[in-house]
Amino acid sequence: MSQPPIQDWYTTLQPRTAAGRRFLEFCKTDRLIQQQNLMFDSKLYLQAVSYALAQIDTVSQSEQDAGI
């Protein structure tokens, strides 16, 4: 399955909080690892990231955590 360029994929999501941004940064790396798996489904992964990001943005409000 052909994957869209990471940069394109990444810019489709707009985190609203620091926790969301940290999570998305993590996903950038995580995606590279996950897509080594032959069964990796890029569309499903993007949906999962989008879904989790929306939840994180909702929960973490606008201010950032310490995030050590």
């Binding site: 993590f26 995580d30 999962a48 990231v49 989790a52 994180i56 929960v59 955590d65 310490a66 050590i68």
Partner: protein, 616 residues
């Protein structure tokens, strides 16, 4: 960031607050009874830096103004690395806030707008109000919370959000799973319903053919009964006419025969020589006259035969032909009524009659063909008296009508069967449509479930990464703080992948879940972690100076642990350039080398200088 001096006017209960010469390192004890303003000092620091308060909301900050005054002013002198700064923040009763940030070394204003000051401070400190609250500032409000310690640690580690989202998604997943299961169950139920409503297209076709044949049979019986009734009436009307013509024909035949006889006699006489001589003797030329008369008689006979033929051919034959139709219908009616409906109809339709458990008509209810045979030829010759024929026809018509009514009843049942089959087919179609819709919904729910499961995996991995980072950031510096705070009982903490925080006890090599510890031990560990994390945060931003404010955080500590902990903390704070404000209701038993700020306001004025305990 190190606090160097604090001044305030009309802030909370203070008419005037002035604390100067605050030491940069070590424990600073704020000691005083209730309502002496210990908490207000911490609040003043938070308000000066961030324009917020942990006690009142952002929209009710005017509540920080001393009762009856127009505005409150707080000035905070502080240092970040080698930068000496002064911030002054004012709040009016109308909620108007102003703020100015100066560089104390040059006396120049760095920023004088709220947003601008916030941005500059964020850059200088490396964190905002929330992080300050989570790490550097322990509000008295948290002292009363049972979950504050674990939540605070999770927030510090940046995993609180993962924990909350994990719970949310788990809830969503449960809902989606339940929805999927419900849908699958409904689909199974519908499949069973569909099985019950399984439509056999051949059966419907068979029923429709049965319906058509019954309808045809009903019409046939009805039409035949009507036609026989009408034809019988015609028979009754034609009967006298036919017999009148018949008599005329017969008379003509008789007349012709008589004429022929006379002609033969005359011809016979004219051929006899004796008779001819005798007649000629009477009247000369009589023999010739006889021949002429004989010819005339012959011609008359021929004319009579001709008329008789014409009457028979043109009048009687059509009448016979018409009655022939009646005879044929009578024959058909008898033939139809001489066998049961089961035999009369197509075998497939008879199967339906058997399915409906309709018994064949008994033999005594059927017509006898032999009785018709006696009548058949006679009908065609108008040889039956009209009353006799009426009797015969009426009997047949009654039977045909009964059969027609019976067929109408059967037709109605066949229609019901067809309606049932069609309804079943429509219901099956509706169920199939619902199944399709539900399958679409199920597909979407299952995809959502996959998304949620994958999101959980992602969050677990993100949490793991945060946990690794957290464990790495605190482990090298936490041990001393934990030992100091727990009297050496515990040595470390570890944030595990299961989102649990474990406390490490080296003496028995155990890992104890944080939340199972006693509340006071949780507090000890939480405060140790705050020290460790504050240091890590400060270091991350290029400074080893930082200031923490603990408002009654050690209220649960009893002696001698309190004195021991404070002594250890003081040593560690000096080593790591930490300024640790600790508010307590009274001076600990052994406060040697600690710095004391004695909170005993005089008429709401607190103007104090630090005193080093044990050295006076």
């Amino acid at each position: 960031m190190i606090v160097q001096a604090l001044q305030a006017q009309n802030f909370r209960q203070f008419l005037h607050l002035n604390i100067q010469l605050i030491p940069a390192n070590g424990v600073i004890l704020l000691v005083g009874g209730n309502e002496t303003g210990k908490s207000a000092i911490g609040e003043a620091i938070v308000f000066a830096l961030f324009g917020l308060s942990d006690r009142v909301g952002a929209k009710t900050l005017h509540q920080l103004i001393r009762w009856g005054q127009e505005e409150a002013i707080v000035q905070l002198a502080f240092q970040i690395n080698d930068k000496a700064l002064l911030i002054e923040r004012t709040i009016s009763t109308a909620g108007q806030m102003s703020v100015v940030l100066w560089d104390r070394s040059t006396g120049q204003v760095i920023a004088d707008a709220i947003q601008q000051v916030q941005t500059v401070l964020q850059n200088l400190l490396g964190y905002g109000h929330k992080v300050f609250n989570q790490t550097f500032y322990w509000s008295q409000r948290l002292t009363k919370s049972s979950t504050a310690d674990l939540e605070a640690i999770q927030a510090m580690a940046g995993v609180q959000v993962y924990q909350q989202v994990h719970d949310l998604i788990e809830n969503d997943t449960r809902t989606a799973l339940s929805k999927s299961e419900q849908l699958e169950k409904t689909l199974q139920e519908q499949a069973a319903q569909l099985k019950q409503r399984k439509v056999d297209p051949l059966r419907l076709k068979w029923l429709q053919e049965t319906q058509a044949e019954l309808s045809n049979s009903q019409e046939q019986h009805y039409a035949l009964a009507e036609q026989i009734g009408e034809e019988t009436q015609h028979y009754e009307r034609r009967y006298p006419l036919y017999h009148q013509i018949k008599r005329q024909v017969s008379s003509l035949h008789w007349g012709a025969g008589l004429l022929l006889l006379l002609m033969l006699i005359l011809l016979g006489g004219s051929l006899s020589s004796g008779f001819t001589l005798w007649v000629e003797s009477l009247w000369t030329g009589a023999s010739k006259l006889m021949i002429w008369i004989a010819l005339l008689l012959g011609i008359s006979a021929a004319v009579a035969v001709f008329f008789a033929y014409r009457l028979a051919n043109e009048e009687m034959t059509p009448l016979r032909s018409k009655v022939g139709l009646l005879a044929q219908r009578l024959y058909t009616g008898y033939r139809m009524m001489s066998v049961s409906l089961h035999e009369l109809l197509h075998p497939a339709t008879a199967d339906w009659l058997r399915e409906k458990q309709i018994a064949p008509e008994s033999a005594d209810m059927l017509m006898d063909m032999q009785s018709l045979a006696k009548w058949s030829n006679r009908v065609e010759n108008y040889a039956i008296e009209p009353t006799d024929l009426r009797h015969l026809a009426d009997g047949l018509v009654v039977n045909l009508q009964q059969r027609q009514q019976m067929t109408a009843g059967l037709l109605s049942r066949a229609n019901e069967d067809i309606y049932r089959e069609q309804t079943k087919a429509q219901e099956a179609q509706a169920i199939q449509q619902q199944q399709l819709e539900r399958q679409t919904v199920l597909g979407a729910a299952q995809t959502q479930l996959q998304v949620q499961i994958m999101a959980q995996g992602l969050l677990n991995r993100a949490h793991h990464q945060a946990a690794v980072r957290f464990n790495g950031a605190i482990n090298h510096s936490t041990r001393a703080y934990i030992e100091a705070m727990t009297g050496g009982e515990y040595q470390g903490v570890e944030l595990a992948d299961d989102l649990q925080l474990y406390v490490i006890q080296e003496s028995n090599q155990s890992r104890t879940p944080f939340k199972t510890l006693k509340a006071e031990v949780q507090r000890e560990i939480a405060m140790a972690l705050r020290l460790s994390l504050a240091k890590a945060l400060a270091l991350r931003h290029g400074t080893n100076q930082h200031s923490l404010f603990w408002d009654e955080a050690l209220l649960s500590f009893t002696e001698p642990l309190l004195s021991q902990a404070l002594a250890h903390l003081n040593t560690l704070a000096h080593q790591s350039t930490t300024q640790l404000w600790v508010s307590l209701p009274q001076i600990p038993e052994n406060g040697k080398d600690l710095v004391l700020l004695d909170c005993r306001p005089d008429d709401n004025v607190l103007d104090i200088r630090p005193i080093r305990l044990g050295t006076a």
